[in-house]
Structures are given as C-alpha cells and as structure tokens.
Symmetry: C2
Subunit: 216 residues, 2 copies
DNA sequence: TAGATTGTTAATCGATTAACAATC
DNA sequence: TAGATTGTTAATCGATTAACAATC
C-alpha cells in the first residue's frame, strides 16, 4: 500500500539502502532478498519490506529484488535523477573542502557556483568553480535559480543570509552552521549537519558505556 | 525516575538542549519553565520533562529550571567536563577544516595530534597541531592514549584503519568516511557523519514537497 | 496562601516486528 | 510442482503526549 505521508525515519533509511545496493551492484550481486539484505545491514526483513512498500512494489515473490533495478528505483525516489542545482555560500575551510571533495554529481547535484564576502577568496577557483562576490548573488539567482544552497558561513550571519536567499527563491538549505534556522515561508527545507551535536552524542556514549549484558 | 537505558532519541536531543540553554544563558536568561523552553524549541513541555527526568530532578515546582544550572547538568551528562582526548587521522581538506574551525575545546575535547600518510602534509602544522606520519601512531597512542579518533581518510582505507586503531585501544570514532564501520570488539562506539545521506534526504524533501494542508 | 510548575503515572500514538495468504 | 519470498495485515513494542498529585 502506497503511503501518503512517509515518516522521517523511513526517509533517513533510504540513502543507506541506496548505498548498500550500490555497493552490492558494484560487487556484481544481481538479486537480493529482504532477508539477506537485512542480515547485511543489521535490520529486520520486515522493516525493509515495509519501507519499500511505502513507494511501490519492487520485488517478486519467490525471487526477491533485482539489485540494480531496486537501486535505480530508490535513487529515483531520492531525486538523484532530477539534476538539482546547487551553490556554495561561504568558501572558508569547510566550503572549500566540500567543493574539493564532495561528490555532488553522484548525489544528483550540479554545482552552479560559489560565493563569499572575503576578497582573499573571491576570484579564486576551487575544483573548477569560481568564487564570486556575495553582492552578485541576487543577479546570479535571478538568472540561474538553484534548488539548494550549501551554507558554510559563520553562525552570526546564518539566519540573515538564509532569509536573504529565501527571498530570492531558494527552498533548500544544507546547513553546516550549527544554528537552528527557521523560516516563515512555507516549503523551505533545512537539512542540518550539526557537527558539535554529533560529537557530543559520541562524548555521551564513551562517558556512559552501555550496561554490560549479564549472562542470560 | 532515573532510567537505566536511555533511548537514542533522548540522547540526540541533549546537545540541542545544551545549545539552547547556552544561548539563553548568554542572553542573560536566569530561569525557564519546560513550557517556555518547549515553545522556543518547538517541542512539548511533556517531552522536555520526560527527557530530563531520565537523568535526575533538575527543576523546582512553581519555579521551573535555573538556566545555568541545567546547562551545566546537561553538559556534565554529555561528558563535556571530562576532558576527552582526541586525534585527527587524515589531514586532507576536511581534516584540515575541522582542525582549523571546529571548537573542540567547547565540546570538551582536547586535540592531541594529527596524522597522515602524505609527505605533502606531514610536518606542517594546522592551528598549532603538527601533522605526523601515520607510522608513528602506534608509538603515539601507546604513550598518550586517546578517547576519540576523527576519521577523515579515504573510504577504501576506512575499515582497515579503524581496525588498526581499535587494536591500539581506541574506543570512539567520529567517522566522516560515508562507510558503515563495524567492529567485533565490544564497547567501540562509532558516530557517523554521512554527508551524502544527509544531502540525499534534502534531495528527497525538495523532490517531494510535503502535502499541502487543506483548509480543515 | 494561591498560582505555577515540577516529576511521574497513565493514555495515546506511531513505528517496528511478526505472521501469513498470495504467487512467482 | 514445491520452495521461496513478497506485500500487507495484525500484534507488539516503544516513544510521545496528556493528566495530575505533590510542592515550591
């Protein structure tokens, strides 16, 4: 049964399925059952079948799933084949690292440009992308709208910069600023990478080792 | 009632509470009720009280919570005051960016060193941390054990490097490699920052705009 | 004191797991 | 065909929310 509202938990598992299936495909695996996929990923076969059934019927009784077909389907659901357009705003160390390393193309994004306020980086090129002055962003987005902005700027300008970009029509933010951004404009999506939060959960877990399992 | 087993969902909210309370403390706010904290954070007062009650009784009837006290308590729970020790393994663009930008001290970590295999970066210093050759890591960890390793290395050496470090006694990994690491050694904790997974969930959400609310 | 707000118990909601008829 | 495995419905489990007595 196709669901109307997919839960966040399901959505967050999709990239992992995609990753696992890509890896199996690269290994030459042709078919997989929910059971064996579950064993490899450490989740139940039930959950896998439930998750997939939110989006359609991709398997075949008695056979399982065709790895490459399922991989493509999930990629399609994730929007990987939609050629989303993206710019990087803030080319400090982190913005630079993402421009240099991150495989945007493999996640379906094409990098349309990079912007910064600092004269030191303006005019330089990172991985073939020229860094342009922030003042030009209005004109640039008018000419060439983008789907997503990568926000790698200092915390104290995060919300105001987001607001400025939202006014220019941006509806997706990949936010690295460790600030909780918000907008009154409907349909604006924020995806946060909170480095500090992540490290703190690790800090918690090493500070509180999980309770030893007594012999049952 | 103190709980034995804290759910992952609760743990992942703790850094956000800590962040919010720090921000309020910086603003000079002295007391806060679960209700008003909930309004600011967009969660229910019930959930806040439930979450806190896993760890103790930090409030006072009729008054609420003392912001700074609660902030310290949560920081303590997260292990921020434990002065954890950490090294960075892999000083490419991302490792460099983290060494340069990330406020390790503010999350309770002290950077003990950085390691890489590339002669280009070995011997350089990033933000006061000297990059040493990977061969020296055995000796270094024997002398100065660390709690956490930041893994910013290429995917194809991720698992083998993790195994090598686990054999040297490392029990915490902040993993940036987009590989699902695992270990048979009990008590080893992995915290993953999966950039690609994160961006793909954003891709999903902009590809599937949430269903418009009909006027009820 | 009266009002406010906690910590906790009970009720609800949603997500995960189990079971199974359908069928390749 | 018989065995395997799906998609889906039902059962279980856990997390969130509501309610309220205790009390500052």
């Amino acid at each position: 049964m196709r669901k109307e509202n997919i839960s966040d938990a399901v959505i967050r598992r999709l990239p992992r399925y995609y990753r696992q299936l890509s890896e199996m495909y690269a290994r030459g695996v042709v078919r997989v059952s929910s059971r064996s996929l579950g064993v490899e990923m450490g989740i139940t076969a039930s959950q896998i079948r439930q998750d997939f059934s939110c989006f359609g019927e991709f398997g075949q009784q008695g056979y399982g799933y065709h790895v490459d077909e399922l991989r493509r389907e999930i990629g399609h659901i994730l929007g990987i084949d939609q050629d989303h357009r993206l710019i990087v705003v803030g080319v400090g160390h982190l913005g630079h690292a993402l421009l240099q390393n991150f495989p945007f193309a493999r996640t379906g994004f094409s990098v349309q440009g990079a912007f910064d306020v600092s004269p030191t980086v303006i005019g330089t090129a990172v991985n073939g992308v020229e860094v342009r002055p922030m003042e030009e962003i209005e004109a640039s987005l008018r000419d060439q709208p983008v789907d997503v902005v990568v926000l790698t700027i200092p915390q104290f300008v995060a919300q105001q910069t987001a607001d400025r970009l939202i006014a220019l029509g941006v509806r997706g933010f990949w936010n690295f600023t460790n600030v909780e951004l918000s907008s009154a404009v409907p349909g604006v999506e924020f995806e946060n990478i909170h480095f500090a939060d992540s490290l703190l959960t690790l800090s918690y877990r090493i500070a509180h080792p999980p309770i030893k399992e007594e012999n049952p």
